[in-house]
């Protein structure tokens, strides 16, 4: 057991556990906290893959921006526990678990097949994971998508304002 294996095991077990907390908690705030924790664990996993820049973005964008928004809305709506959480067998849940199992089998087959990928090379991985390398690619080869996402974000900002602002009559 090297240190990296221990690190990987701890991070991934905590990531899965916090994901489970997210989808099973009665109270939305508890779900949200589970999700924030999950984001940090994933950022850790990205670091084990030498993707520093993405790890930093993960914390900044997901934990710092998206989750703040979510928690803000939960607080604003002042939601309590789900009152009706009596677990009767509900067709939607049966479908959900069935689909989940089907997906698992499907994805299982994928990984059993063969992932013919060259091994992990720390030098190369650490080199491409830097802000400099990523920025260079983004603003040369992928400049067009970067500009295109500006359209998407503009539309989203305008749309969110239109939807949330409403005259009370």
């Amino acid at each position: 057991m090297t240190l990296s294996v221990v690190l990987f095991a701890v991070l991934s077990i905590l990531a899965i556990a916090s994901a489970l907390v997210t989808i099973t908690s009665k109270h939305p705030i508890r779900s949200a906290m589970g999700l924030v924790f999950h984001f940090f664990m994933l950022a850790g996993l990205y670091l084990t893959l030498s993707a520093q820049f993405i790890a930093a973005l993960q914390v900044l964008v997901y934990a710092g921006a998206i989750m703040v928004l979510v928690i803000f809305v939960i607080m604003l709506l002042n939601l309590g526990d789900e009152e009706k959480l009596k677990y009767k067998v509900n067709p939607r849940q049966v479908i959900g678990i069935f689909l989940g199992a089907a997906l698992l089998v499907m994805l299982g087959t994928i990984y059993v097949t063969n992932v013919s990928v060259a091994g992990f090379n720390k030098e190369i991985a650490a080199n491409i994971g830097t802000a400099q390398f990523l920025g260079n690619e983004l603003y040369t080869k992928y400049i067009f998508p970067v500009e295109a996402i500006g359209i998407l974000l503009t539309a989203a900002i305008v749309g969110a304002i239109v939807l949330a602002k409403r005259k009370l009559n």
Partner: protein
């Protein structure tokens, strides 16, 4: 030292997270928790992309992650605005109580 973890492990972790997310989307009633489950699914995708990217030594996977994150942020903003609009008119965010139109 870090080379000792094979790619398959990362992929399995991400598949498990993806499935947890999709079960959450289908089984939960609270629209906000449904959105959080969708974020879980997107994160699983990101993990797959980053691990492939690092193992292949190809940066385009991480570029994709960059775009997925931006879209996820926009989607969260829109989704939450819609939830707010719905809450104002119906005083609920439980998807099974929203039944003016059939599911």
């Amino acid at each position: 030292m870090l080379q000792s973890i094979p790619l398959e492990y990362y992929l399995i972790i991400s598949a498990v997270i993806f499935i947890i997310g999709s079960i959450g989307v289908i089984t939960r009633r609270n629209a906000i928790i449904i959105f959080m489950s969708i974020e879980l699914m997107l994160n699983a995708v990101n993990l797959t992309l980053v691990s492939f990217s690092s193992f292949l030594g190809d940066v385009s996977g991480q570029i994709f992650v960059f775009f997925v994150m931006s879209v996820a942020a926009a989607e969260a903003a829109i989704g939450l605005a819609i939830i707010l609009a719905l809450f104002r008119s119906k005083q609920t965010i439980y998807v099974d109580e929203v039944n003016l139109l059939k599911w």
